[in-house]
Symmetry: C2
Subunit: 569 residues, 2 copies
């Protein structure tokens, strides 16, 4: 089929779809156009270029075998024509042409048999004064990356403010604070970092770690203005002024769908171009994918927007297949993600508890904390997982995790993500068959333990209290004598707390509990704690068996409380 395929956008999905199409249909004439100078780059690598982990920006545009993916590369290696600095201004569906503006400012019209829209996303604009000052950047393309890197490498920057605590905000904060030792403040409009991606509890743990690494966070705070002269000097929020000689705006992205909309293609209210499972728009000769489209959220079964580089690549292949007469589908997504935050990482898939409730699910989230390897193996870390479950059906709606910056947390998330679209019940998680060997996992792995905890909570055997719940009670403890913390850890761990906080804190190691049952206060609500929540769960059952029912098991135990950041002073 010697067809003319035109692709608008040459960053992620565009090149992928074009190359796949060319491989399947070598006689096709394929042309990529892009308004930028640089094409086919790994935008997600920008924070690692700024940090210096990646030394040259050209590496973000290179193949694994070190060839720069430029116009010549696409021509010679792929047989594909690329027109850079060429902007598509109008799609004429009736004549099957696209009007473009060329680098010299002249216009031209390109014909297509099939068109692919890979227009991507644009950084969401803050409508505030000072956004256009020098030293104010978004993180959208190679030019931004080089601009930021030039400033930091020149040692011109002492104080940076990052607006937005999502993926890019956190990655840029690490890049600036860790590698360049820049005094870095992150301002977030919502009351937690990574809003909508992880629960408040996990967000708090990750934030504490970043604070320990020197990053300052201002939550629930709104940026109002950037002040400066020749360049940015100060960020004004609704709560304070912060000195800044570098400001990075990382408040998310919006789909670039104007071209599609102007051409009369269906566009979702959230701005993404509508596509079917074959990634065709409402015009069957026009395909679209990547950051400019909406696809189905496989959990809610609603239209959703997932601007993720990996999805663009997979969708690109689907388009390349279909546009050359093949038959492939992209079913949707559960939104798997991972982000490195210094020595730790946050990852997840599906819905957080907050999102699940917003979507109308009667849901609960449960936590587990456990070593990522056999507890007797020398190299290990405690990881925290959270499972979001619909109460009535026990259906798993999502999983999120916080752990070291190795693969150990995200690998558990990935295994659950793989089945999330099948509406698994929690017993599926209890029985998930992860490979076991002491250097990699536990005989009863945390992922299975997480399923077990969920079941125990859903069946009312375990009544949990989370870190935030514990903190609220703890802070109010002077005013109320309703609660007693029963510490089930060994005496060496529990006794110092008892000595300090008696009678609010009582140390009875779990193996002594049966014999010392009479010491348990009968007239108080009891919060049971141990190191990770396992012994205290057993204690909860023991107490209930003795008729003591008003008990709460601290999820994830003292180890998680410590990560969360409560200070016992």
């Amino acid at each position: 089929m010697a067809q003319k395929i035109l692709v608008i956008g040459a960053v992620a999905l565009g090149p992928k779809a074009a190359c796949r199409a060319k491989r399947l249909s070598p006689d096709s004439q394929i042309t990529l156009i892009d308004e930028g100078e640089f094409i086919s780059y790994g935008g997600c690598g920008i924070p690692y270029y700024v940090s210096g982990d990646v030394s040259e920006s050209s590496e973000l545009r290179s193949t694994s075998f070190h060839m720069v993916r430029d116009v010549d590369f696409f021509k010679n290696d792929k047989g594909i024509d690329v027109l850079t600095r060429t902007k598509a201004v109008n799609i004429n569906r009736d004549t099957k042409t696209v009007d473009v503006r060329k680098p010299d400012g002249m216009t031209d019209t390109l014909a297509y048999d099939q068109l692919i829209l890979a227009t991507g996303a644009a950084p969401r604009k803050l409508n505030i004064k000072g956004c256009d000052l020098d030293n104010v950047f978004t993180v959208a393309n190679i030019e931004d990356a080089e601009g930021i890197k030039a400033k930091v490498a020149a040692q011109e920057i002492e104080k940076a403010v990052i607006v937005g605590a999502g993926f890019i905000g956190l990655e840029m904060a690490e890049a600036l604070a860790d590698m360049w030792d820049i005094d870095t403040t992150v301002i977030e409009f919502f009351d937690q970092i990574m809003p909508r991606f992880v629960s408040a509890n996990l967000a708090q743990m990750a934030m504490r770690h970043m604070e320990e690494k020197g990053v300052t966070f201002c939550l629930s705070e709104k940026v109002q203005e950037i002040k400066g002269g020749a360049k940015a000097e100060k960020v004004i929020t609704d709560k304070r002024e912060i000195d800044a000689d570098l400001v990075i705006l990382a408040t998310g992205v919006s789909p670039r769908s104007e071209l599609a909309k102007n051409a009369g293609l269906e566009v979702s209210p959230m701005g993404g171009i509508r596509v079917n499972l074959r990634m065709q728009t409402s015009d069957p000769d026009i395909y679209a994918g990547g950051d400019c489209v909406c696809v189905q959220n496989l959990i809610t079964e609603k239209e959703a927007y997932f601007p993720l580089g990996s999805m663009a690549n997979r969708q690109g292949r689907v388009i390349g297949t279909n546009i050359t007469g093949g038959d492939a589908e992209f079913q949707g997504a559960v939104g798997s993600f991972v982000v490195k935050t210094f020595e730790n990482s946050l990852s997840g898939a599906g819905l957080t508890i907050e999102e699940a409730i917003r979507e109308g699910f009667d849901a609960v989230s449960v936590q587990a904390a456990q070593f990522d390897r056999s507890h007797f193996y020398p190299d290990k870390d405690i990881i925290n997982l959270e499972l979001v479950v619909e109460k009535k059906t026990k259906r798993v709606l999502g999983i999120q995790g916080y752990g070291p910056a190795t693969d150990s947390t995200v690998s558990r998330v990935n295994a659950v993500a793989a089945i999330l679209d099948q509406k698994p019940a929690v017993d599926r998680i209890s029985n998930l068959e992860l490979a076991y060997s002491p250097p990699f996992s536990s005989a009863m792995d945390i992922i299975n333990a997480l399923g077990n905890v969920a079941e125990n909570i859903l069946e009312d055997r375990c009544v949990p209290v989370d870190q935030e719940g514990f903190a609220e009670i703890w802070v109010a403890r002077g005013e109320s004598d309703d609660y007693c913390v029963l510490d089930c850890r060994a005496e060496a761990d529990g006794k110092p707390f008892e000595e300090k906080y008696a009678p609010t804190w009582k140390s009875i190691p779990h193996d002594q509990l049966r014999a010392r049952m009479q010491e348990v206060p009968k007239d108080k609500k009891i919060i049971l704690v141990c190191n990770t929540g396992v012994r205290s769960y057993e204690a909860q059952l023991d107490l209930r068996h003795r008729g003591i029912g008003s008990t709460f098991n601290l999820s994830g135990g003292m180890s998680s409380l410590k990560k969360w950041g409560i200070r016992f002073d």
Copy 2:
């Protein structure tokens, strides 16, 4: 329900089932009996105790909070009675009693309402002379572990022979060679290491790495006798004699099902006790699980034997639930595994290509090699994955991998293992939604690339040759001029080979191929190579488009060939 539950066997499943049952039914009287002195230990940790990674054997018997799981622990912490050094000799189903021999040699009879068989497995015995000599060990329990560790720690051992190149054999080889610098030889009856678990190609890669670390392997070799006086001195095989002052027998395990069989319970021809999905034997008052039972292989849907510690734990929980009136099921297994081999690891789930063919599937295996992280990220390793696929249905039957000893390979395997029971087609692998961020994965992750390669091969676009196939052709090249290797890598990589091996080797970088098409020999079969197999696949399509059809793409490219161990000299 105040019932008497008796559990025979107190290593893995027994304690797990007992503790779960006690938690769910605190009034139950639960007794564990075990013929050994030590109970509730992590047998899979023994190699790491021998190596010294785990300093005391008691750590293998301890909880994550450092309490040794002994008789007192089970009594005080769990409310469960344990009788050690107590051997069950007979089950009387009619009277619901078990005859036992006590530590003092006297017999006793214990009554039960419900019985759990957790009798585990025994090391498969080699019927050869010398097996009972001093310094000949199996790796079955803490006593074995302490025996071996005492010998190596006393610096008495210079040369060790390990019989069997399965999990335990390889782990013990690493422990002895790496940490104790002992001259170690592994003898394997089959023609590869990890037979039935990984393909010959992946086995070869892992073996080469272990050889580089100083371990010697003798494949396709049968041990006939161990010679010695006071202790082992020599291992005699059908091919040679090997000096050895330590011999470790690691030739697999067999289910210990004699008690069950003698009691008239159904036992599979492969020796495992038969259980239903609730883990009940043919007597509904008797449950069994762990290394003594057979369960369903979820790929073949046949009865299978999976002696894996993690499975015992999950099954134990199912039994604990059901025996106290609950309702849980264990559906079967896909056999996920991982084993660390020095700086690398082998992992897998489902069937290998050899097993798939043996099981009657018309199957093919495909390979992919790619970095585990974004190729521009500084810390990364190439991993090798192999996907086993039924040709006609494109159903994925198994996945195996070889990569670094981090989680990066096993995490991909785990994600596929999670869906293997659903008979996924390869497009499910192409679209598997792994979390992406450069420090963790690639935008087009190797797992997706693997699905893509499988599809390209099944649809005859890619015609592969594997490492073994290449080696056969390469070794025979003097005798035949049928083949030419076309090297698609950059000139810096390909030219030195061309200079050495012309005309058998021809260097045409892929981006020059279109222009230099006339240089490609038309009268020969062409083997296309690049670094990982991606460019050479594109070259294969380019050649076919020009009418050159007799081409073979080297799977995994030169990087995999190097791991496999071919030497260009």
